[in-house]
């Protein structure tokens, strides 16, 4: 090694070390994202207070908060949130189970894939909202048709994700399992499942995202409770604060359930060599 190389190597060492981040830098960066919505909200609040706008169609934050508080006080909020959560939970569960099983089989077996995949891809091309009339005819106007619609929405991303993940498991890694004489079930448990897990978590998250989308569609088609009902109710009674409150509730719960998946999966995915590793503990 020449002297030049050595001096370069010495200089590189400090750069390799982790930069100690100050408390300010650690909290200031995420806080930056809140600045814009906060400014807008505050600006609008002031505008309404100052009488520049009456705020009837676009309620100021304080009125939305009052609406929230009122809904929470009367127990309405809990009732609607629980109804919506329940539908998403059941629909997501059903869609996940079917999507996972079918995706795994189609990914594993070329024969099944050739048999089943074209039909499913064809069905996937149908906008899922288009199923609503049929589901209502078949399953009635109540819970079953709603849950079925959500399950359909959740099914496709999970089916696709699992199939793609199983198909793309590294043949070389599978061969390691063969070299150590793993049985079929051992191969699934020790090689295939862990190999598929990162893609599976992504599939679950996009499935859940669609689940939340479809629960609104389902609740629009006639419901007596749920956040989607609250939206329609707010529209029909001319209560924009109620609509915005329901939208906010959707945002919070949707994000929270997404975090739940990420949080539950995180301990199993610490091995991943990710490009973005922002919030490493």
């Amino acid at each position: 090694m020449s002297l030049v190389q050595m001096s370069v190597a010495v200089e590189e060492v400090p750069a390799e070390q982790k930069r100690p981040r100050s408390a300010l830098a650690r909290y200031a960066r995420p806080a930056l994202g809140i600045v814009l919505p906060l400014t807008l909200a505050l600006g609008w609040e002031l505008a309404v207070r100052a009488g520049i706008s009456n705020g009837r169609l676009v309620p100021p934050p304080s009125r939305i908060y009052e609406e929230f508080a009122e809904l929470a006080r009367t127990g309405e909020l809990t009732r609607h949130v629980v109804a919506t959560l329940l539908r998403v939970a059941v629909g997501f569960g059903v869609g996940t189970v079917i999507g996972t099983v079918l995706g795994a089989i189609a990914g594993y077996s070329t024969l099944v894939r050739r048999l089943v995949d074209p039909s499913l891809q064809g069905l996937r091309a149908v906008p899922s909202i288009a199923w609503i009339p049929l589901f209502i005819l078949w399953l009635g106007i109540f819970e079953t048709s709603k849950v079925a619609l959500i399950a359909v929405g959740v099914f496709f991303p999970i089916y696709l994700g699992v199939m793609g993940a199983v198909m793309s498991v590294d043949r070389k890694i599978v061969e390691v399992g063969r070299a150590f004489r793993l049985s079929g079930p051992q191969m699934v448990r020790r090689i295939l499942l862990p190999a598929v897990l990162p893609a599976y978590v992504i599939a679950l998250r996009s499935g859940l995202g669609l689940g939340w989308m479809f629960v609104i569609a389902a609740e629009f088609m006639g419901a007596s409770e749920g956040l989607g009902y609250l939206l329609i109710d707010g529209q029909q009674l001319g209560k924009p604060a109620e609509i915005v409150a329901a939208i906010l509730a959707f945002a919070v719960i949707g994000k929270a359930t997404d975090w739940l998946i990420v949080g539950v999966a995180a301990p199993f995915l610490r091995w991943e060599d990710r490009f973005a590793r922002g919030t490493e503990a």
């Binding site: 070389k172 070299a179 199993f268 091995w271 060599d273």
Partner: protein, 262 residues
């Protein structure tokens, strides 16, 4: 004793990758297989390992035919092929079936210590350098104490310094229990440093072209006259093994350099 008897491999598309390969490996012996790329070296090794089936012939380990991966045969691939979701220690323990788990962990820890990576036990494979990862792969293959260790160009992806380091390290590990080793490589120096016998292959179809003994004293000096003598023999054999293919190749481009076709 490992016996390879008249192994041939014909792919479904009719390409003959191997033909009539026979040799045997004595207990404690290291055999290197060298040859140009595409001569079927790796195909041969995969047939011996039981990962692939030969089309003709058979492989016998102590008289027992090998038709699928065998517990007495360990294999190290060109890439480390560590399981990224297991820690380094768990990767080493992957092939162990001992119970309870504490016994497995103990054996893996001992093997990891033996390859000098005990401090990396709790790390993920992605945190290792290429040489370290390959050492873990060797430890993983050796910890079940196989009678045969197969190595498929194990160091070809590493830089020259690491490669020499690992060659010496491999010999050191081999010395513990002296398993039979079959090493596939395209590095002539590597073959001579490690092996007792060097088999030069030629291609289309893959056959053993010449067998050259390398009965030098261990540890081997890479710069001795005896080393160079064996090296010259292997290189000459390689040259002759390629001769039949090189001539038409030269004829294909008669005036290379004088005028380009475009």
């Amino acid at each position: 004793m490992l016996n390879v008897e008249h192994i041939g491999k014909t792919y479904p598309n009719g390409v003959r990758a191997l033909e009539g390969i026979s040799f045997s490996v004595e207990p404690g012996e290291i055999v290197a297989v060298v040859g140009g790329s595409g001569c079927g070296k790796s195909t041969l090794l995969r047939a011996i390992s039981g990962l692939d089936q030969p089309s003709q012939g058979r492989v016998l380990l102590d008289g027992e035919p090998i038709i699928s991966p065998h517990e007495k045969i360990g294999i190290v691939f060109q890439e480390p092929r560590l399981l990224p979701w297991l820690t380094v220690a768990d990767n080493v323990a992957f092939g162990l079936t001992d119970r309870p788990a504490s016994r497995r962990q103990h054996r893996a820890a001992a093997a990891l210590f033996r390859v000098g990576l005990n401090e990396k036990a709790r790390m993920w494979p992605r945190e290792l350098s290429g040489g370290q990862a390959q050492r873990v792969a060797i430890a993983r293959a050796l910890v079940p104490q196989p009678e045969v260790l197969l190595l498929d160009e194990p160091f070809s992806a590493l830089d020259a310094f690491t490669r020499i380091d690992l060659q010496d390290h491999l010999l050191d590990l081999w010395n513990d229990r002296r398993p039979m080793m079959v090493l596939v490589t395209h590095d002539v120096d590597e073959a001579i440093v490690l092996a007792d016998r060097i088999m030069v292959m030629r291609s289309h179809p893959g056959r053993i072209f010449e067998e050259i003994p390398a009965d030098l004293q261990r540890p081997r000096d890479r710069h001795s006259a005896a080393f160079d003598h064996v090296k010259a023999r292997v290189l000459m054999a390689l040259d002759r093994s390629l001769a039949g293919e090189r001539v038409p190749e030269q004829l294909e481009h008669p005036g290379t350099g004088s005028a380009m076709w475009w």
